[in-house]
Symmetry: C2
Subunit: 506 residues, 2 copies
């Protein structure tokens, strides 16, 4: 391997093998990894390995007629290569410690389209603000998704079913090259393993078949650093599987993946229950207050992976205005959550970005770039100011007298009324010791009373999320300050600490 393999890069070796699952061992000083290979053709298997440590790695791979041994140099990573993404508290980081702020998009079936369209999708992504793509392994069948892919994941059985133990090499080769191309663009591939939108039988394989499929998929793809595992799109619409089977499938991914990639389950109505193998919440819903509640309830990072799409189709999940999408994404951010874009503008050729990729037509992406730029400029991730409200709403009261009133109401009302009441206090305000983001959503107030610490100086800036504009409003503020605002929808207030007391969540 001339030049060696980058840390978090991909080392690959092909061997002759009659075994479908040849074992391999990689070691360096005290570190030793066992990896299982996968079939790549008749009598041929490959082993892939993502080294996480620089230096000389030695290996031995099982092969027909014995073993193949060797070594390679792992060299420092370069450019966009920061390793796989991990959770870090309620947030994310790359393995090398660099912060990762998920700003995803959705192209479910882009890897099942013709080559020209896939290239166009990649070209669009190259110029778009997104660093994660939600995409399906299995092809998709639903409105605007009538075409068959060129290749299917498995060979067909004569009787019409699928032989999951015979992966179609052309299919997997295409899929992994798409994952790799995303990686080159610095984009995470949030790979959806199951989904209900099916006319070929992939959503109704048996449990054993599902386990075989997962086993192969994980062996083949987990060495790509930018892979995330999404167990499902809308797991609770896949009526052929119950929770017990989902758990078994999730555990199989967790146990099969030597690199500990992120694992989530995307829901339709009901968020997937908390499980040891679940790394974060991948939630569908349009109400960012609920995203905040899930973050608190699960104690895990939340990505609102489906908040509705910018578009104009007949379905309510696909006809949001650009402003509505951008507004939800800013609100998610100020709640200490993350969110994902999608776009569904109707056109006659039925190439809608949300499923097939292609071009983007909307007004949201450039505003998401503004959000991303803002988020990247921050000294660290924010926590929601209202973090304590679910346990004690009086923590959000303006003064002790008000807090007492809040407690008395809270103690005397039924749950549905408590919910209305508590929602009054759940505001998208994010706090970090050095800054605060107050996002006002659609509220058109012409001033805001900011209560800052007595000691210290703080600069106050206006954020106009639609005009993509920042403007200094007050310099060296402290104590109680009346901040003038333009009185329109889509305004944020950014407070930066210059000196004095750190800012804190309640």
């Amino acid at each position: 391997m001339s030049g060696g393999v980058e840390r978090y890069g991909l080392f690959e070796l092909t061997v002759s093998s009659r075994s479908a699952r040849p074992r391999a061992w990689f070691w360096q000083e005290g570190d030793r990894r066992e990896i299982t290979g996968f079939i790549v053709g008749p009598g041929k298997a490959a082993v892939r390995f993502m080294p996480d440590k620089e230096g000389t790695w030695r290996y031995t791979v099982e092969a027909d007629g014995g073993e193949v041994s060797g070594e390679f140099q792992c060299v420092p990573s370069t450019g966009r290569n920061h390793g796989p993404v991990r959770t870090s508290g309620m947030h994310f980081r790359y393995a090398d410690g660099t912060g990762f702020i998920p700003m995803g998009t959705t192209c479910y079936a882009w890897a099942h389209q013709d080559g020209r369209l896939m290239e166009q999708t990649l070209e669009t992504l190259r110029n778009a603000p997104f660093n994660k793509v939600r995409m399906c392994v299995f092809p998709k069948s639903t409105q605007f998704n009538a075409n068959d892919p060129e290749h299917f994941p498995f060979e067909r059985i004569g009787s019409g079913g699928w032989d999951v133990d015979k992966p179609d090499q052309a299919f997997w080769s295409n899929l992994e090259s798409r994952v790799a191309q995303l990686g080159e663009l610095g984009i995470e591939a949030d790979l959806i393993l199951f989904h209900p939108y099916d006319r070929w039988g992939f959503s109704s394989l048996s449990r054993e078949e599902n386990l075989s499929y997962i086993d192969y998929c994980v062996r083949r793809l987990s060495a790509y650093r930018n892979v995330w595992w999404s167990m499902a799109n809308e797991y609770d619409l896949v009526f052929t599987k119950n929770l017990e089977e989902w758990d078994a499938l999730g555990e199989a991914v967790h146990n099969g993946d030597p690199y500990g990639h992120l694992i989530s389950v995307h829901n339709w109505l009901e968020p997937y229950p908390k499980r040891p193998w679940l790394t974060h919440v991948s939630w569908q819903g349009g109400d960012m207050q609920t995203a905040f509640k899930l973050r608190t309830r699960y104690g895990l990072p939340v990505i609102v992976d489906e908040l509705g799409y910018e578009g104009d189709i007949e379905f309510d999940w696909g006809n949001l205005s650009a402003f509505e999408v951008v507004d939800r994404m800013w609100a998610a951010a100020a709640f200490g959550c993350y969110s994902t874009h999608g776009e569904t503008f109707y056109n006659e050729d039925e190439v809608l970005w949300w499923s097939k990729g292609g071009r983007l037509y909307g007004e949201a992406p450039k505003r998401i770039a503004f959000l991303r730029e803002f988020m990247n400029s921050l000294p660290g991730p924010m926590e929601p100011l209202c973090a304590g409200v679910l346990d004690d709403p009086s923590s959000m009261a303006a003064n002790p007298q008000h807090a007492e009133l809040v407690r008395s109401i809270w103690d005397s009302k039924p749950q549905d009324i408590r919910d209305i009441f508590i929602n009054e206090f759940i505001k998208p305000i994010g706090v970090h010791r050095d800054y605060m983001l107050i996002y006002l959503r659609r509220h058109c107030q012409s001033y805001y009373w900011l209560d800052l610490p007595q000691e210290g100086t703080y600069d106050v800036e206006l954020l106009d999320v639609w005009e993509m504009r920042r403007e200094k409003l007050v310099e060296n503020a402290h104590s109680r300050v009346r901040v003038p605002l333009p009185g329109k929808e889509g305004v944020g207030i950014y407070v930066a600490r210059k000196s004095g007391k750190e800012l804190t969540a309640k």
Copy 2:
């Protein structure tokens, strides 16, 4: 009485009386009414009577030294006089049968301001689209409400309290003349009897004092045909009264009012429970789906009397965009509910329309005029298409297969998930046998699949609620029709039956 008294007009007689509650009897053929008078000054009482039947009414009034008797002619009503408003199923009608479509506004303390400002408020109302005003009997003390009124409802007790048995004549005289002036403009006076925004002690009178106050107020004002009784603004923020006292007060109004004016109770968090004396739901909340649910649960007309105000103040209830207000009002209408406007633009003299009246500055009122014009053009009130969804969500499914799926999900999910699920089906679509209104709210779809009956012809029109524009889209449609739309927020579809099968709710 030259010219006589109009039907639903006001007959008034003043007598010498030491009694605070002189009785009077009015009769015409078999009809006989007992009315109780009220003090108007030292040794003087008045009796007021609203006749509901044309012809000669005779009367006898108790007075010092015996009785005063006489008669007057009740003549046909003219102009805007259609009598008091009654409920009619889930809707409203005047007593003479004319339809009444509530389109209210909010000026809580307008009748406690100086004369010049009150005249300006009336002038504004003369040119505004509103036919109901929510207004307080007691003065108001809260943000932007720091001024004392010229008169208070009762005489002061030396020790600092109020003598509720000594009404201040100047106060009541002003109040009733304001009610009468509204009546002349064709505007209902939704009189709020109690509220929590107080610094004078009116919210913490004893139960007996409250009953005395109500007794006087009802005797004095109930003969005005345009009076509605609102027991409270935000009853559940009046911590000095419990539900049992509210019930007693509500019953006292009901029993004391000989004319059966409408009675409601406006809430903060918790809608007031259903009671025999409650004529309709006066609800505070921003979510029109909840308004629909209340309509179904109570089986009473619902007026969303506080959906938030157009404005720019610091409180979230008072900084909605004009579009948001207009959008909520159209949604309420399509749910078969009614709604009320309010406006809170900050200005330095602290005259905000929502409380003190004065001028309107917003962009919503002219769009509310468009809504009112649309509503007035309809052949009758609409019922929500989704009327049956709370009992059986499968009634909203597009086809039998889908209905079965819905039932299975509905039967297997916990309540919070059922709520998310059912909300998917709760759409602001109103149906009348001769028309349908589909209001799309913020959904930007560029087409809509309309399923019309096979037999008949239907005209399809676009409603642009912001541009206040109607445009014919399809003529003589039937069966399944793809309706082209502009793909923007604030669009409604109006379908008018020209021939053939009547339209029905599900």
